[in-house]
Every structure is written in C-alpha cells, then in structure tokens.
C-alpha cells in the first residue's frame, strides 16, 4: 500500500505523516510522546488512547480559528495543518507552571473552595488572573462565522455504531420495510475488526473482505441511510437522538460548505451497538508519557500501521491482551514483560503458552507499583511478591484495566444499569425508551454469542430472518477479569502521584481525602474533587473512581451508584448547536409591503417582535436620531405625518355570538355601540392586569375587527382562541388573524383631512359624515380600502387599511397628493413621543403585567354594567382597589432645561449622599420620557404610589450620575387636554 505523505506543523516543527493519520498517530509515527501539559500541575502528558476517550492529548488547531481542546487521537491531519500544544509556557519541554506540581499539597481536593477565601479584593486582582493563567486547557477560539447546518431525520430504526454488531444488525434489516439510519463515528465501518486481530476470519473470509461485502449490501438496500464521521451525542426523550457529523475530516475546512452538520433524529427504535471503552489502572505516576491503554496500542498498529513501541511492558487484570502480544510477535517485535494481577491458575493457557514460546518475562499475581522518568517513561517497578519489587527499563507501558460497556447514551435515555460481578462493570439492565442494546454495550463480551443475541433481540421486528455467522477468534474465547482499581504504591517524592482523573489532575488520594471530609455521596464527591468533570467526562476512569470509593466506604459498587450521565457524550461546538440561527437568521424577519420605500428614504429600522419597523428617517447623512425625531414630531403637529402601521395585529371575529364573546374578552361594553363605529378597548388577564389594548371596529353584532399591539398580536389571538375553545366552546364564534392581509397607514396632523380629501376625492370627510371613531369601506384601485377616523397622536387622524398588493401604490400616491403640505414620514420613536405628549399608554412600557386599568386612570373603559368579562372579578380584590397602588401620572421638570431618564426612581429626598448610606424610599419609576419640541421641555410619565393624590406636588427623580431632578407631578396629558385637535 502506497501512502500519501502529509506535512503538518506541531509546535512550530514540521512533521511527516500518512494520509488518514490522526495527529496522535502521526506524532507517534515520529516518536513524539510528550504532547501536552496537565490542567493543574502542569505535568508532562502523552497520548493515552486512540479515540474519543482521550484525556490527555488535547491540542489547539491554529489554522481552524484557533480551535482549542481538540483530541489529537480523533482529529485527522491534512497538508498545512498547524497544531499547538496547550497549557504550557514558554515551551512544552520547559514549562514554568510545573512548579504547581511541587506545590501540590495546597492543590488537593476542594482547593478552590478552601483557598481563595479572602480578602475580597484579592479575588479580582490576584486569584482570578493567576488561576486563569495557570489552570485550564486551550485558549478560546477567535471569532468566526459558522456555516454549521442542522439536518432532521424521521426514521423507524437507528443503529448507533457500525462495528461488527452494528453491521450485522444492519445486514438483518437490509431490504425490509423499516427506514434505517446507520451511524458510525469513524470514517470506515468495522470497529474492532479494523482495530485489532481479535477476529481472524468471518465465514472463512478476511474480515476486511466481509466488511466490504456487507457495506455493499447496505449501500444497495434503499431502506438504509448511512452517516459516517458522525458521533451520536445525545439520547433524549422521546427516542430523539442528536448526532454531530464532521464534514471536514482529513481536509481543511471548506469556505463554502458546512464544517459541521448536526443531525436531529426522531426514531421509533434505537439500537445501541456503540461498543465498549477500555479503562486504566491507577498506580504511581500512571500519567507519564509512554503509558497507553493496551487496546489503543493495538488500534494504532491496525488502523494506522504505527507501532508506538517495539517492546512495551504489558500490565493487565484480564484476558484481553493476548491479541496484542500476538500482534507484536507477528510483526517481529516482542513485549519486554507481561505483568498480570491474576492467579497463574486463572490465566488462560493460550496466553501462558504464547509467552513461554517466545521467552517473554512473565509476572503472574504481580502488579505495576509505579513508573519513573522525567518527560516520559524510563522504567517501571513491578511488585511480584508482597514486599519484593523489580525495576525494568522500558519506554512504554500498555495497560488494560478491563472494559466498560459504553453506557453513556443508554443512561442518557434514562435506562437503568446493574453491576456485573463477572465482568466487573456496569451494564444496561432496564430500558426506559424503545432501546435495544447489542454486543459489548449490552455486556456481551463474547463474540461467539453475538449473532444469537442479535437474532433474539430483533426477533420482534416483522419480516426479518435469522442470520448465521462463523467467527474464528484469536486467543481466549471467554473474557476473564479480576477486580483491580489501584496498585499499592510506595511513595517516593512529592512528584509521585497516582491519578484517577488525568484531565482534571485528580489523584486517588484526593478521593480518599474527600471521603474523609464527609463527601461520601458520589455526586458530592464528584463536584468536590472535580473527578470526571473534564471534557472527557472520565471515560476511561469514572468506574475506577467508583471502585476506589466503594472500597473506602466498604460498600458494594452498585450501592455507591454512578453519577448522572448527561448529554453531550463528547464536547460539541456551539456553532453546531446554533446551526443557521445566527447573524442574519438569528430570528425570522418580517417586512411590511412598504419596506422598499423605507429603505429608499433612509429609514433606520427597529426590531419590534420579528418585524422591521422604521424607527426614524434620516433626512441627511449626519442627522442624529434626536434631530430626526424632533423634526418629525414637530412636522406632524404643524402639518401632517404618515406612519406605516402595517405591523399592527388585526383580528377578525365573526359568529352568532360574536358580540357576547367580545364583551367577555375586552373590558369595554360593545352592546350599545352602533355598527360601523370604533372604540379604544382594553384586554385584561384573569388577574385583572392589562394584557393588551387596541381598537375594536364593529361591522355588526356578528362581525368585528380588532387591532392589537404589534408585539402582542400572536398572544392576543391565542388568548381569544383559548377562551373560545376551552371556556366557552358552545359559543358560535370564529377568530382569525388578518394582520398580513391589510397594510395600514396612519395619517395624522392638522392637514390630515386635506390630504385624505385629495387622495380619496370621492369620499366626504366632513366631520358630520365621517366623525371621530367611525369607519367605512370604499372601492379604490380595483380593490377595497377601509378608512377609520382614529388617532394615536392627539391630532386629527385617519387609519387606512388596504390590501398589501396595492399598498405601495397608495403610499406613493399619498405623497404625490400631499405636494405643498409638507407631509412627513415618521417612525416608531416619533410615534412614541407624540403619544406620550398626549398621555396615551403603550402596553409593555407604561404597563408590566402588574398594572390594572384603575392604576392607569382608565376606569372609564370598564363596562361596569357588564355581568362578566375576563379579569373583572380581580378588579374588586382588596389589594387592587387600594388607593396606595402605583398610579400613572405625568412629570414635568421644574427647571425646563433638564431631561428625565426613563426607568429612574421617583423619590422624596432632595439630596442623595454619595455614596448612598441609607435606604431610600422608592415611590415609583419613570415609564416614558421625551423632549417635546412643541412644548420645548421634557415630558414624562411615571407610575407612583398613590400618584393621583400627589398631582400638583413636587417630587424628585434620580439620575444615573446620582443627582436628583425636582419635578412637578401633573395629569399625564401635556398637549390639547380638551381634545380639540383630536376631533377637529
């Protein structure tokens, strides 16, 4: 096989690797063992595993936006990749932070909680900068624009894992009626078949041929979809899986294509065939570069053609390392020694014979006491009798501490586990969702039984046949293990440590200390020691920690229990979670039919709900918002202005019982109202608080059209639907949103009528014919318009409703006919200013869900003679009728040159101490404040305790620079209190 050579950089030095190599494989190929520094003690760390479970070998990819904490054992290299090691300064080999290691007595469990207690100023100036510099992993990525997308799937069966078991399950399902999704986290299928020589032949063929044939079968069956390089991260209720696909495996990120795809999968059945994870053993300095898990070592040989070391020492408590010894021998190498904790009588004869035949030193009933070396292993110490040890020179130690079914996803699905005394591990027991576990994840460590298990567990599916398979297995057929979590170590120096969590630098001593200090519940102990809280979530070590803790507590492991496994299974980028919901797609955008005109006329937009509304229009480039708003406001009061109100919610209500319904929904009484008239109306919640306001137009007793606030439209419709369906289902009434079906323009100002007369020359706008708060429909532009005489500015005003298709034409005509009148387009800010001058409220600004109509002095809008309406009963509760509630008033600064800030407190104090020493009584707050160009001073509204009684008195408003402004409390109606302009 000819491999393509690839050149990449690690810490500034160029290395050569093969195509398909992970960073770790390529570094091992170059005999690089030291790849990082640890989290807390800055100890040298190497490559521990060959996959997702890696705790140590985390690196930063400089050319991918500085992406930190990338697993070197997963990430594939490509030409020109720039990789940097993490958490070291100034360099990997000479790291100054490693002084922490010698200070380790103060860095023990609960160190953060105990040490950084005070004084207060130390936290900000000393502790935090120090911790930030020395602890932690990579540096945060630089800003970049994600292209990650989401893809949703609806299927019948998901198979998680494309190893031997997953492939067999898929083969069974090929060509059936079920829609199947097969998800494999690696680039290629095969799992253990590709990572070891444990299975020699399948149906008398080479496993690679069998994989290829099976893949072809799957590929040709139309009911199976396949995802590669995809990791299932989350198993939610109800049978909802989230998987992350890496689209740029082994190549640089494409500027135009998504780098990550987040698959959201809804299924009926989930088959977990996601295998197992090898665990380590704790001994003295078990973190030194050169220590590696045995199965990972074998995986480097078969997946990447890299032999990390030609003569490693092998240390195990189980029968699984036979194939590793055999593989090394077949390659012409030889393990330096074989150390097995098990009794010689229990060790399989295949192992014993293989060792003897090849003259490999064999230590049964022995253990590794520890290992030594500076930046990597130089020697290991073997304890072969109680007090007898031997030191062996070696540069590599392969460890196998047993296997855990990869139960992370199973427990995320809320399935329950049980302890298996023979396998010395937790395995799935009781399912909660539609989950099937197959193969080693189910605790079936015997390849010979695999087909039987699959046939049995899938037999409930319709139209599938039993399969048969013949496996030739290398070495011991049955798995055997003896419990061992930690070896007894002879403490040599401060440098000697026995780790339980490599990534978070938690030692076995920390576990003991935590239990001594009273943290004997596993969830507490985890948080206190930070055990298994790293990005690897303790994949190779968390069960070991339970083993050690159960021994200290003298309990069964199953009584200690595990900590809760939560999604995600492995870290995933925020960009993948966000998908396309960023930047321009952060939220859907709605535009009115006049939008293009607004853009052409330099509108600055404001987001109101999802709508883009003109905030103000820039008349010239340097015009500020304040200048624009003052200009627009003045022009409306002097001539006329036009506002695009198309975003206002509009609801059509019809049915035999429409009148009764609308009488219950709004506070006002509509019974005596004449057809074709309109009324300003309030809507309350059952708690009596103002929910929304709008104008109700009555066509007749069976047909109404109401408006809502822009932001409240959806809620108001939902509120009406809820009552129509759930409380009064016998009422004959239909409600429908027609917001989109009409564009709405508000024209107001002293010249409004003149403009209307010019545009609609066939309509009589005489006040007698067309008085305030009436409306009518007219033919116009081959379509219809509805015109309503109403105003939100206090000026003479008209609202025009027209179909959106004709809206822009009408809008432009209005300007055409307003030649010489000085009609101004105005935005939401001017609208707010004009209504504040009139003391009109805005729901959500003057109200906040705790304000009743009585508080707003809008009692006149309550239909007192109505038997019932939503919220009526609440208005006579004792605390609602109290005169001490906050009431809406107006404020005018005594010194007219002062401005009042919105949101400031209303107080009685003339002066404020700096700094403030005693509590200050807060009477209320400013809800709205604007500088009125017409009055030439600031006008504000406020909610003040017992405000109605305070009209005419003097109070103070705080400012953001801790001053106070004296103000006069007035009625909130600053312009035209008699409404002469309004009805003119």
């Amino acid at each position: 096989m000819i491999e393509n050579k690839i050149y990449f950089k690690f810490d500034g030095k160029t290395f050569e690797g093969n195509e398909g190599d992970t960073i770790a494989a390529a570094l091992l190929r170059n005999n690089v063992k030291l790849v990082g520094r640890s989290f807390k003690y800055h100890r040298p760390r190497g490559i521990y595993t060959c996959g997702i479970e890696e705790p140590n070998a985390l690196v930063q990819i400089i050319n991918e936006h500085n992406e930190p904490n990338v697993r070197a054992t997963v990430k594939k290299i490509y030409e020109g990749m720039v990789v940097k090691s993490q958490n070291r300064w100034p360099s990997l080999k000479r790291d100054l932070g490693s002084i922490n290691n010698l200070l380790s007595p103060i860095f023990s469990a609960g160190f953060y909680y105990k040490t950084f207690m005070g004084p207060k100023s130390f936290w900000k100036n000393v502790y935090e900068p120090l911790i930030r510099r020395t602890a932690g992993l990579g540096k945060p990525p630089k800003e970049f624009k994600s292209k990650s997308i989401h893809l949703q799937h609806n299927v019948d069966i998901v198979i998680v894992g494309g190893g031997l078991t997953g492939l067999l399950a898929a083969k069974k399902l090929a060509g059936t009626k079920y829609d199947v999704l097969l998800i494999e986290r690696e680039n290629s299928f095969g799992g253990i078949l590709k990572s070891s020589k444990k299975i020699k032949l399948i149906n008398d063929q080479d496993p690679n041929d069998w994989i290829e044939k099976t893949e072809r079968l799957i590929h040709n069956s139309s009911n199976i979809k396949v995802l590669r390089n995809t990791l299932v991260n989350t198993y939610n209720f109800k049978d909802h899986l989230i998987a992350l696909e890496d689209k740029s495996v082994g190549k640089p990120q494409d500027n135009k294509k998504p780098e990550l795809v987040l698959h959201k999968i809804r299924t009926k059945q989930t088959i977990l065939a996601n295998g197992h994870i090898e665990r380590f053993i704790s001994f003295r300095n078990n973190d030194l570069p050169g220590v590696m898990l045995a199965a990972s070592f074998e995986k480097y040989i078969y997946r990447y053609g890299v032999v990390p070391d030609e003569s490693p020492v092998i240390f195990t408590n189980n029968s699984s390392t036979f194939s590793l010894i055999k593989s090394l021998i077949d390659l012409g190498h030889k393990p330096k020694a074989y150390v097995d904790i098990r009794d010689p009588k229990k060790i399989e004869k295949e192992v014993v014979e293989l060792l003897a035949k090849n003259n490999i030193p064999f230590y049964a009933k022995s253990e590794i006491e520890g290992c030594d070396g500076k930046n990597e292993i130089k020697s290991v110490t073997i304890r072969f009798k109680k007090n007898e040890t031997a030191k062996i020179k070696t540069s590599m130690l392969c460890v196998s501490g047993g296997f855990n079914p990869d139960i992370h996803l199973f427990t995320q699905s809320k399935g329950l586990l049980k302890w298996d005394e023979n396998l010395i591990t937790f395995k799935p027991d009781k399912i909660f969702q539609n989950t099937i576990t197959l193969g080693s994840v189910s605790g079936n460590f015997s390849y010979q039984n695999i087909m039987k298990e699959i046939n049995e567990k899938l037999s409930f599916l319709e139209g599938i046949n039993d399969l048969d398979i013949k496996l030739d297995i290398e070495g011991p057929v049955n798995f055997h293990i003896k419990e061992l979590w930690e070896t007894k170590n002879a403490k040599k120096s401060l440098w000697s440590k026995s780790f339980i969590d490599l990534q978070n630098d938690v030692t076995t001593k920390d576990l003991k200390q935590a239990v001594t200090e009273g943290f004997n519940r596993i969830e507490h102990l985890k948080r206190f020691t930070t055990n298994s809280m790293g990005t690897d979530q303790g994949k190779i070590s968390s069960i070991n920690a339970l083993g050690i803790v159960s021994k200290i507590l003298k309990k069964n492991i199953s009584d200690v229990g595990t900590t809760t496994y939560r999604p995600p299974y492995a870290p995933l980028n925020f960009s993948a979670i966000a998908g396309r919901s960023t930047y321009e797609f952060y939220d859907p955008v709605r535009k009115t039919p006049i939008h293009p005109w607004h853009i052409k006329h330099n509108a600055v937009f404001e987001d109101v709900g999802q709508w883009k509304r003109p905030w103000y229009y820039k008349k010239y480039t340097n015009e500020t918002m304040h200048e624009a708003v003052q200009r627009e406001s003045k022009q409306v009061r002097e001539a006329a202005g036009i506002l695009d109100g198309s975003t206002l919610g509009k609801i059509e209500i019809k049915g035999k019982d429409a009148l009764a319904f609308i009488n219950l929904i709004y506070t006002n009484s509509f019974t005596k109202m004449k057809p074709m008239t309109a009324r300003y109306a309030l809507m309350l919640g059952e708690d009596g608080m103002v929910k929304d306001d709008g104008i109700v137009c009555k066509i007749n007793d069976q047909h109404f059209i109401t408006t809502t606030t822009t932001g409240g439209a959806a809620n108001v419709l939902a509120h009406m639907e809820e009552y129509a369906q759930t409380e009064w289902p016998d009422m004959n009434v239909y409600v429908n949103s027609i917001t989109e079906q009409f564009a709405t323009f508000n024209i107001s100002g002293p010249k409004a009528k003149t403009i209307m007369e010019r545009v609609f020359s066939n309509i009589d706008f005489n006040n007698k014919k067309f008085p305030f708060m009436t409306f009518n429909n007219f033919d116009y532009l081959n379509s219809k318009v509805r015109i309503l005489r109403a105003s939100f500015t206090g000026e003479q005003g008209y609202e025009i409703y027209i179909s959106p298709k004709n809206a822009l034409t009408l809008w432009e005509r209005i300007f055409y006919y307003s030649r010489g009148i000085n009609l101004v387009p105005y935005g939401t800010e001017t609208m707010h200013l004009l209504r504040a001058e009139k003391g009109y409220i805005i729901v959500g600004q003057e109200t906040d869900g705790t304000v009743t109509p009585i508080d707003l002095n809008l009692d006149w809008m309550i239909g007192k003679n109505k038997k019932d309406f939503i919220g009526k009963r609440s208005l006579i509760r004792s605390d609602i009728i109290s005169s001490e509630r906050k009431q809406l008033v107006g404020l005018i600064p005594l010194d007219k040159s002062y401005g009042i800030e919105e949101g400031q407190h209303i107080i009685e104090e003339k002066n404020l101490d700096t700094p403030i020493k005693k509590p200050i009584k807060m009477l209320g707050h400013v809800t709205s404040s604007y500088f009125s160009p017409t009055l030439n001073h600031c006008v504000a509204m406020a909610l003040i305790k017992g405000g109605n009684r305070k009209i005419g008195s003097q109070l103070y408003v705080s400012t953001s620079d801790l001053n106070v402004i004296p103000v006069e409390v007035v009625k909130p109606n600053f312009i035209d209190p008699k409404n002469e302009r309004l009805v003119s």
């Binding site: 997308i149 989401h150 859907p588 709605r590 709508w611 989109e740 379509s783």
Partner: protein, 172 residues
Amino acid sequence: MTRTFLAKGMEIIQQDKQQILLRGKGDGIFADIINKEVSLLPPTDNLRMINNDEFLFAKQSFDQWALIFLKPKPEKEIFRLLSAFNSNEEILASNYSNTTYFEISGENKNHFLSKLTHFDLRSKKFPVSTMAQTLIARIDCCLYNFGDRYLLSCHSSFEDYFKDRLQDAIDL
C-alpha cells in the same frame, strides 16, 4: 418578485396565487354555500385536500379550510366570493391573498426540506393529497402534498427571509 431556486434533483418555483381562508362548522349549510359558488364540496377529513385545475381546497384544521385559486382571478371576483361566503353569519371568510407560494419538485425535495423542518415527510406519515401546517425555517407554513411536488405557503411578510433561507439551504 418571482424567483426560481435550483439544486441537484430539486427545483423551487415561486408562484402567485390567491386564497380565501374559511372558518365554520363544516356542516351542510357550510358545504352548500361554498358548493354554490365554486362547485366544490369542502373536504371533511382533517388535513385532507382536494384539487382540480382551478382550485385547491384543504381542510387545515377542525374549523378551518383554505380555498386556493391555482389560476389567478380578478380581485373583484375574490371580493364577490368573500361577500357571498360572509353572507352567512356562521361562516367567517377572510381574504388571505397576501401569501407567498413555492412549488417544490424533484427527487431530492424531501432531503432539501429536512434542512429546514423536523416534519416527517415520508409518504407513510404524509400521504399524497394531504396537507400539514408546521414549522419550516422556524416560521409557520402550510405544505400541500401533490405527490410529485409540494406546494408550500407562508405569510408574505416572511418572503424575503424565507427566500434567503432557501438559498442558504441550497448553498450549504
């Protein structure tokens, strides 16, 4: 503005149509009034749609029907129908012409839409001649299944946003 979106095995054509949204009991009187005007009986099963060359008639919900005019009609005619339907006090007919339509066809249409919606488009869950109201690109949409193609509709205020999302889904 009418636009066409093209991707491998998939084509989206924006179309202009008119629509009347009907609310009512769906009883005999309801059916009679509608039948008199458009010679079509409203479907009675929820989410069922019927169509001919001129109309698409779908029961969208327990009390709601959409009458879509596949061939454009003069606006006068729409207003005439609206007032005819609304003459009965137990029917609410609203003009829903401010709706944007997309016709989606091609073998990859389901794969393409799965970038934008969680909705289960498999024919066993979404049979031909049914419709669904669901979220597509995070907005409320109606989807009508003609078998070889879908008709998708959304409020026109979302038109620009939705077209940007379609183009984005094609590009990525």
